[in-house]
């Protein structure tokens, strides 16, 4: 059953608003709570969801869907080549793909448009290199760890929005290297002093 569109309501008092509020350049007061509002409404509000139904296989020998053998195949998956019925056909970036290929792509992180979470390895590396300097004894352990982490995640995907991932990793590597050099110098000095 298609979802019924809900009317536009005032964000403050949830009072239902009339169409005279829509797409005005001026701010208008809500008749219920007098909060000043500006509302832009777009045609998607009135768009009806179309439910696609897969047709049954009518003729013996007609190609059936890989996932629903009783349903008539209408397209071929652009990724794996399996026959798909109208129900299994997912329109993705203008390509026809099956749900299994879509899920595989999402799990392997190959489809950026389906990525919902990313770890900022560059920031973790910077934090690992910089924060322990407050209690500098910790850098004995954290500096090599930061260096290793930065190199390990050099090719890991970063944020999907523009950022300074590589620069941050380079900074982390430089700081961690300096800390390691400091410790090496310290131990060398201890040995020489004896």
């Amino acid at each position: 059953m298609p979802a019924i569109a809900q009317p536009i309501a005032c964000p403050k008092c949830k009072a239902v608003l009339g169409s005279d509020f829509f797409n005005q350049t001026a701010w208008l007061a809500c008749p219920s709570c007098t909060a000043e509002l500006r509302i832009e409404v777009f045609p998607a509000l009135f768009r009806e969801d179309k439910t696609t139904l897969a047709e049954n296989v009518m003729v013996e020998g007609e190609a059936g869907c890989f996932y629903h053998p009783g349903k008539k195949a209408t397209v071929v998956c652009d990724a794996c080549g399996r026959f798909l019925c109208a129900l299994c056909d997912v329109d993705f970036n203008g390509r026809h793909v099956c749900p299994a290929c879509l899920e595989t792509g999402r799990q392997k992180g190959k489809i950026a448009k389906l990525q919902n979470v990313r770890t900022r390895h560059d920031r973790i590396a910077i934090a690992l290199a910089v924060l322990p300097m407050l209690i500098f004894y910790f850098t004995f352990i954290t500096a090599p760890a930061a260096l290793f982490y930065s190199i390990w995640h050099w090719k890991s995907p970063g944020s999907i929005v523009p950022n300074r991932r590589r620069l941050n990793l380079v900074i982390a590597i430089i700081i961690a290297s300096l800390e390691i050099a400091g410790w090496v110098a310290f131990f060398t000095w201890l040995v020489i002093r004896k």
Binding site: A5, V16, L17, N23, E40, F42, V117, I160
Partner: protein, 319 residues
């Protein structure tokens, strides 16, 4: 199945924080930013800066964008101005140079934040509606930023969906209202849309709280004029009842459709109860303290009961 081409994003103005986690106290603060993609808006929520969560709002799916002016800007300005002003006056009265410098620095800090808030401009709430969710955009809590973003994305949404003339939108909206059996609100008439995330308020906790406050007026008055062990004991029992009732009321009002004014009043009463319980003034100010407490309890109790009466009247006019 790799992507055909990765999206190119342009950063949109505004940055905001939202609370995540507990019902009353935030478990974590999440920083949000909006980015403009080719065919969608991307909301990037960053927790601590080490992890990012993405929400995509495709232009073809956006049904409406609603901006609502808020008083947050004004309230913050007022609070900062009062604090800065008081600190400045205090600085003038202090004769010790070290103290003057310390207070001067504190005044400058509050003055700086006041100036910053003034420059950031008036505040608002921005809600984006699609067929499946209604999302508040925390990065657009300043009117200037919200209008800039709206001005920028409106042509892109119209390019994705096509633009409709005002008459078409009005007729289609009238059909939608008829379909869900709703009437637009008019001045003096109340018509609230059911919020699926909110449950209907059906508790007597607030009524109990306001009656307990009025009972507190009586016991405080008795304590002023007839101070004896029995009256003081009665006053203590009333105080405990008010404290218990305010906690219950706060729990009961959570995620309900209770009137915003009543919700705010309950929080104000919670603050009042906390301060009153401390009894900041002992003799010779105790009488004045009791009088003020009784007066405030009377105001809060009466205001609360009057506000509680209103929903009944409103329910009658709801279609």
């Amino acid at each position: 199945m790799p992507d055909a081409a990765p999206d190119r994003y342009i950063r949109l103005p505004g940055r905001g924080n939202s609370r995540k986690g507990g019902a009353f106290i935030a478990i974590s603060r999440v920083s949000s930013r909006l980015w403009l993609g080719e065919d969608h808006l991307l909301q990037v929520e960053s927790t601590g800066g080490y992890s990012e969560n993405y929400k995509r709002f495709y232009f073809r799916d956006i049904q409406s964008i609603c901006l609502q002016k808020t008083n947050t800007w004004l309230v913050i300005n007022l609070v900062l101005a009062i604090i800065a002003g008081l600190l400045f006056l205090w600085t003038l009265t202090v004769r010790d140079s070290a103290g003057r410098v310390a207070l001067g620095i504190a005044t400058a800090i509050f003055g700086f934040f006041l100036l910053l808030n003034l420059l950031r401009g008036s505040s608002c709430i921005c809600q984006l509606k699609t067929a499946v969710h209604l999302e508040e955009l925390p990065s657009l809590r300043r009117r200037r930023n919200a209008e800039k973003v709206l001005w920028r994305i409106k042509p892109m949404i119209e390019a994705a969906q096509g633009s409709a003339p005002a008459e078409t939108i009005a007729s289609q909206y009238a059909a939608l209202l008829a379909n869900v059996n709703a009437m637009p609100a008019t001045p003096g008439q109340f018509s609230r849309l059911a919020d699926p995330t909110m449950s209907a308020y059906r508790s007597r906790a607030h009524r109990m709280l306001f009656f307990a406050l009025l009972a507190g007026v009586v016991t405080d008055t008795l304590t002023i004029f007839f101070p004896c062990v029995l009256v003081v004991l009665l006053n203590m029992i009333t105080g405990c009842t008010v404290a218990g009732a305010v906690v219950i009321a706060l729990v009961k009002q959570h995620q309900t459709d209770l009137k915003p004014a009543l919700r705010v009043l309950t929080w104000v009463i919670a603050g009042f109860v906390a301060i009153a319980a401390l009894r900041p003034f002992e003799k010779p100010w105790l009488l004045a303290d009791l009088s003020i407490t009784a007066a405030l309890a009377g105001i809060f109790g009466t205001a609360g009961l009057l506000l509680l009466r209103q929903p009944r009247h409103e329910r009658k006019t709801t279609p």
